[in-house]
């Protein structure tokens, strides 16, 4: 009897895991299909100016202060964290290179994307989810206006076009914050700070950060819109869609960041092999 009960529990556990895996595969397939439809509508017909502009305002203008503020703090935090280790090695003048390299290559783009996923991605999923629950998306389809073209495409364009700008802002404010704390508070020599920054941070680093952000923007828009369009009924469904939009976007951003870093390093070393010899 006990053995039978045990085997039943083991089978149930397998069935539960199987269901989870199947659900995840179905959801991923649904997302890929949704993304394909959105991109195909983007290629076929651009949205009207009046549907595009509110999204540009919401995603770009309203995100700017929070991205600038967090960028400044992250620059200062980097200075605080790195200073004591570098000082022990007598390399504190190299702080500029470390802070600014970390910012433009990694922290600026990822931070801007995280803020966008949290501020805009969740709001998009909640807004579209509410539209799904209150049948506004069905109403749009019933009137012969494709909801993906009308709702998802403007959000995708706004995210992809504006996230590089937000990344540049996060980079810039991070550089300002790092400089302020290193030079004004920690008293590092200004000349050496900038000289080291100039020596270590290359245009490629800046470019690779901005380039990656375009993919992050696309991921945020596509994941959040998909979650909103496939929202389950009720307030709970909308809440879950908003949370899932942020969590899924963040996981995707980090995964894509890893893959893009590997790919960009390969590109860089194939063009400038002398860079590889320095490592």
């Amino acid at each position: 009897m006990a053995f039978q009960a045990l085997t039943t529990r083991v089978y149930d556990a397998f069935a539960d895991w199987g269901t989870l895996v199947m659900d995840a595969i179905v959801a991923f397939g649904g997302w890929v299909h949704f993304s394909f439809q959105t991109i195909s509508w983007l290629v076929r017909r651009l949205p009207r100016r009046e549907t595009l502009m509110p999204n540009f305002y919401e995603i770009g203008v309203l995100s700017l202060p929070v991205v600038a503020l967090t960028g400044t703090f992250i620059g200062m935090v980097l200075a605080v964290q790195s200073y004591f280790q570098f000082r022990q090695l007598g390399l504190e003048t190299r702080l500029g290179g470390v802070i600014n390299m970390s910012l433009v290559r990694e922290l600026g783009p990822v931070l801007a994307a995280t803020m966008l996923a949290g501020r805009v991605g969740s709001a998009m999923a909640a807004q579209l989810g509410t539209m799904r629950v209150t049948e506004q998306i069905d109403a749009m389809d019933s009137m012969g206006a494709n909801a993906i073209h009308y709702l998802a495409v403007p959000r995708l364009i706004a995210c992809v076009v504006l996230i590089p700008n937000l990344t540049v802002m996060a980079d810039f404010m991070g550089v300002v914050g790092g400089y302020f704390y290193s030079v004004m508070v920690l008293g590092i020599d200004k000349h050496h700070y900038w000289h080291n920054s100039e020596q270590y941070v290359r245009a490629w680093d800046f470019f690779s950060g901005v380039f990656k952000s375009v993919f992050f923007g696309a991921i945020i828009a596509l994941v959040s819109c998909y979650r909103g369009f496939n929202c389950r009924p009720g307030a709970e469904g909308v809440g879950r869609a908003a949370t899932a939009a942020f969590v899924d976007s963040f996981v995707f951003i980090l995964a894509i960041d890893l893959l893009l870093n590997i790919a960009l390093d390969h590109v860089y070393f194939s063009f400038w092999p002398e860079g590889a010899r320095l490592l």
């Binding site: 209150t134 506004q136 069905d138 109403a139 206006a145």
Partner: protein, 281 residues
């Protein structure tokens, strides 16, 4: 190739039925919502679809305009099978439908005027002045003042939202108007206003209407014909899902006890089920 061939078929305006549902089955996962439904809606008719909550009336209504794809069976609109039309052709066809959703489904972010103008801006190349004229005409048709044009849906009462939704559904002069519980949540007077608007719309425009409702007053007042749908889980094997198809006047004398109980609002077997569940619990 077959689909393209069908899309090229000319429509026949003289054909009697604007909508024809043939052997329609819709499943959501393991749940069977509609089973082998066959139904015709002749041009100009007001058909009322009644039935218990969850019996699939709204699913049937949405299937009629291709918002829900059939698991099997066909839905023909003006002789064309909707599920076989390309996106482009289906979009063109949808300009011929008007759909009044249960809660209105007005776009929160747009004003009343922009909501009514939405289908016009999607399908017709009209000047702003022409669009404004149509918006005001439709508001007049549903008995709303021009002043509401600049209001947002959230600022309106339930009855006003339903009327704005009706104005939006009428904006494109549709051939088929679908009403999903048009009087639900409204007071009796506002319900009667909506009923009058359904009748007046039919008098003013050559429109075919399908009304999903639980409101027997609406059924008796507006319907030329009534179809009652029964939930699939409550059907016996092989029993058709449509348990009544006839005039509203025949409902009271219907032989099927389930139809009589529904129109009189009698719980009937449901009370026995409750008692049995309580006894088991």
């Amino acid at each position: 190739m077959v689909a393209n061939h069908l899309e090229q078929l000319p429509t026949d305006p003289a054909a009697d039925n604007l909508v024809e549902v043939v052997g329609l089955t819709v499943d959501f996962g393991v749940q069977e919502v509609l089973r082998d439904i066959s139904l015709q809606v002749p041009r100009g008719e007001i058909l009322a679809l009644i039935g218990e909550s969850g019996c699939g009336k709204s699913v049937l209504l949405k299937s009629m305009i291709g918002l829900i794809k059939p698991t099997s069976g066909r839905v023909l609109f003006d002789g064309r099978e909707l599920s076989r039309l390309s996106d482009k052709i289906l979009t063109e066809q949808r300009a011929r439908f008007g759909f009044l959703f249960q809660q209105g489904a007005l776009f929160d972010s747009l004003t009343v005027g922009q909501n009514i103008a939405f289908p016009l801006r999607q399908h017709r190349k009209l000047s702003l002045a022409e669009v404004e004229l149509i918006v005001r005409d439709r508001l007049f048709d549903v008995g709303l003042p021009e002043a509401v044009v600049y209001k947002k849906p959230a600022e309106l009462s339930g009855g006003m939202r339903k009327r704005v939704a009706l104005a939006r559904a009428l904006a494109m002069d549709p051939e088929l108007l679908l009403y999903d519980e048009p009087t639900t949540g409204l007071d009796p007077i506002m319900s009667d206003v909506i009923n009058e608007l359904i009748l007046r719309t039919r008098q003013q425009y050559p429109v075919t209407s399908v009304v999903v409702t639980h409101d027997m007053h609406t059924v008796r007042k507006v319907a030329d014909r009534v179809v009652m749908v029964h939930p699939v889980p409550r059907l016996s094997d092989g029993e058709p899902q449509i348990i009544y198809d006839g005039p509203a006047s025949g409902l009271d004398e219907c032989e099927d006890r389930r139809v009589r109980q529904f129109i009189r609002g009698e719980a009937g077997e449901r009370l026995n089920e409750l008692r049995q569940l309580r006894a088991m619990g």
